[in-house]
């Protein structure tokens, strides 16, 4: 990837299909239905929030989309291509990215190395036996991403010595490697201080326009400020969809969030 400053745009705006189309996607863990018959389409460049209580199936949904596990039934299309049976790395190479709810970082490596590895994964030199030289394009890209999430002063710090908030920022930098077309953010604001939240909103809203994302977020303030559309999930199913304002006003959603009889506690 010789990506210059901005994130590459491979979509060219020509594709007529949705960025991400789910058709009747479900996931069974034995007899437990973690995800049932989820159908929705996200347009390219769209920013959508997925809300729901614990156990609503949000992270399972992400895992099915990125291929961490295969859905039991249903199909997933990514920019018109059926990726249902693709292994995870093939989906990533097509421009899908994700962050993890619990940071999955390489604790023994420093910040720059983590981002560098992420950038190698979506570049052609992932099997290279040659170390990066000073003018290496992938390494330069990694440095840009480190700066983008304001971690440049901690670039040489081991991940195990980072604060929690910095680790979350690093997760985001790694999700921006290469030429992302669509990103899944799994609770990026969890555990962040109010200042760090403001910073996060800043990073999310300043992403290039063609990069769409789906964000799982418990913090309504963050979720509704960065998204244009909301999908509400409950017990593994899509429960409500609509504009942020509609969802906030919806009596059923309010009942659920204010602790209705079967709202929380499906962990």
């Amino acid at each position: 990837m010789n990506a210059p400053i901005a994130i590459n745009d491979r979509s060219n705006g020509t594709s007529r299909e949705g960025a991400l189309e789910l058709r009747g996607v479900g996931k069974m863990f034995g007899a437990l239905s973690a995800l049932a018959d989820v159908t929705f389409t996200v347009e390219p460049g769209e920013r959508r929030a997925v809300l729901g209580s614990n156990g609503a199936g949000k992270t399972t949904l992400f895992n099915c989309i990125t291929g961490d596990f295969q859905p039991t039934y249903g199909s997933i299309r990514f920019f018109g291509e059926d990726i249902t049976n693709f292994p995870a790395h093939e989906r990533i190479r097509r421009g899908l990215r994700r962050t993890y709810q619990i940071s999955l970082l390489f604790a023994g490596m420093n910040v720059l190395d983590n981002v560098y590895v992420a950038c190698c994964g979506v570049s052609r030199n992932r099997f290279s036996f040659l170390r990066a030289r000073k003018d290496d394009a992938v390494l330069a890209r990694a440095r840009e991403l480190v700066e983008l999430v304001h971690l440049q002063d901690a670039a040489d710090t081991l991940v195990s010595e980072l604060s929690y908030g910095q680790q979350r920022q690093l997760e985001i930098a790694m999700a921006l490697s290469g030429a992302p077309r669509f990103i899944l953010f799994d609770e990026p604001a969890a555990g962040l201080s109010p200042t760090e939240r403001a910073e996060l909103i800043n990073i999310l809203t300043s992403l290039p326009e063609h990069v769409g994302f789906v964000i799982i977020e418990h913090d309504m303030d963050v979720a509704l400020r960065v998204s244009e559309y909301v999908t509400m999930m409950h017990n593994g199913r899509v429960f409500k969809e609509g504009k942020p304002a509609e969802i906030e006003e919806d009596p059923e959603v309010q009942a659920l969030y204010l602790g209705g009889e079967d709202g929380l506690g499906h962990g």
Partner: protein, 354 residues
């Protein structure tokens, strides 16, 4: 862990120094000692102690790469070394003229290494489907199967007796089995293998391999084909073990099923674990300790009135002691000792980062 060899602010004081000034004095001393070793020790030590140490270490570097960087313990590295040795005997020259093809060394050696690498890749392709103890079991099974196969196959592998009279080429008019020449030959390949593995460990391939070890799921979510990466690691590891196998075959001028049995396969594991798998220097430390024990334990045992055949006992007890006190080998002991001092004994600098 820096990906490239540029000075970070922490080592900024080294900026103006020439490259040779940046290498700590202790490394220079070790380097010079290794170079002038033939002046210091006798031919037996050169050939049997140092030559054998370097050979075992090169074979064990393959295991260190797989286990230390990749988290995959393969017991088949000695088998891969054996494949290289056998192929050298079959395609090159040996005393068994009915089987050996007698091709020149510059054809036979590359063929031997390539076949060993293909063999290693096939083992990897099978073994990466498993994790942990199952990887050990499947590679041990392959090692055992290959041992029994070559012992019973007379048409290609000449069965129980194997091949003898496998000599290194008289390149540059040097008898490479002479003590001095063989010492430098093994030293050269040992240092080269060591440096190459050290270099690879910071390349995209090496970093990704360590990432696969720590978190395969995350690596897949970064676009890495985890399975392909693991198999490739087996291929690379086979390259080093194959070089070791060729040197080992030249050292004793023969290869037979006994060279690649279960015992030798486990010896490589012992060497790797005694030394430590965190750094490519580990196999060298482990191999040196192993060779010293194996060479002198007979003398120690007979001096205290025990049968010399019990040398495995001494090796076993030493192994137990090292693993008991330091599960990560001598390297782990060294690191803990260094941490307790709080400074780098090689440079005298206080350690301000890990």
């Amino acid at each position: 862990m820096a990906i490239i060899d540029e000075g970070s602010p922490k080592v900024g004081r080294n900026y103006k120094k020439a490259w040779f000034e940046r290498i700590p004095a202790a490394y220079w001393i070790i380097g010079v000692l290794l170079l002038i070793m033939p002046l210091l020790v006798n031919e037996f030590a050169l050939y049997q102690i140092f030559g054998w140490t370097f050979i075992l270490a090169i074979i064990a570097l393959g295991m260190m790469l797989l286990a230390g960087y990749g988290g995959m313990v393969s017991l088949a590295q000695m088998t891969i070394a054996g494949v290289a040795g056998y192929m050298l005997a079959i395609f090159g020259d040996s005393a068994i003229e009915t089987i050996s093809q007698g091709w020149p060394w510059f054809v036979a050696i590359p063929i031997a290494i390539i076949i060993a690498m293909i063999f290693g890749t096939a083992i990897g392709w099978l073994a990466v489907r498993t994790e942990g103890i199952y990887t050990i079991m499947i590679t041990l099974a392959i090692a055992a199967a290959f041992f029994y196969f070559v012992r019973q196959n007379y048409t290609i592998f000449n069965g129980f007796s194997g091949f003898n009279g496998i000599l290194p080429p008289n390149l540059f008019g040097v008898d490479w089995r002479g003590a001095n020449a063989f010492y430098y030959l093994t030293l050269f390949w040992a240092v080269l293998s060591y440096l190459v593995i050290l270099y690879i460990s910071r390349s995209p391939f090496g970093l990704a391999l360590q990432g696969v070890r720590d978190n395969p799921r995350r690596m897949a979510a970064l676009g890495f084909n985890v399975t392909a990466h693991r198999v490739a690691a087996y291929t690379v590891a086979a390259f080093f073990s194959a070089i070791g196998g060729i040197l080992l075959t030249w050292q004793s001028a023969q290869i037979s099923p006994g060279t690649i049995g279960i015992g030798p396969a486990i010896d490589i594991l012992v060497v790797t674990i005694i030394g430590g798998m965190a750094h490519p220097i580990g196999p060298f430390i482990g191999a040196f300790i192993y060779v010293i024990l194996k060479t002198f334990s007979v003398d120690i045992l007979t001096s205290i009135g025990l049968s010399g055949e019990r040398f495995q006992l001494i090796i076993g007890i030493s192994f137990l002691l090292i693993v008991f006190f330091s599960p990560d080998g001598v390297l782990g002991l060294w690191k803990r000792w260094r941490d307790s001092l709080g400074k780098d004994p090689l440079t005298g600098d206080r350690e301000d980062n890990s």
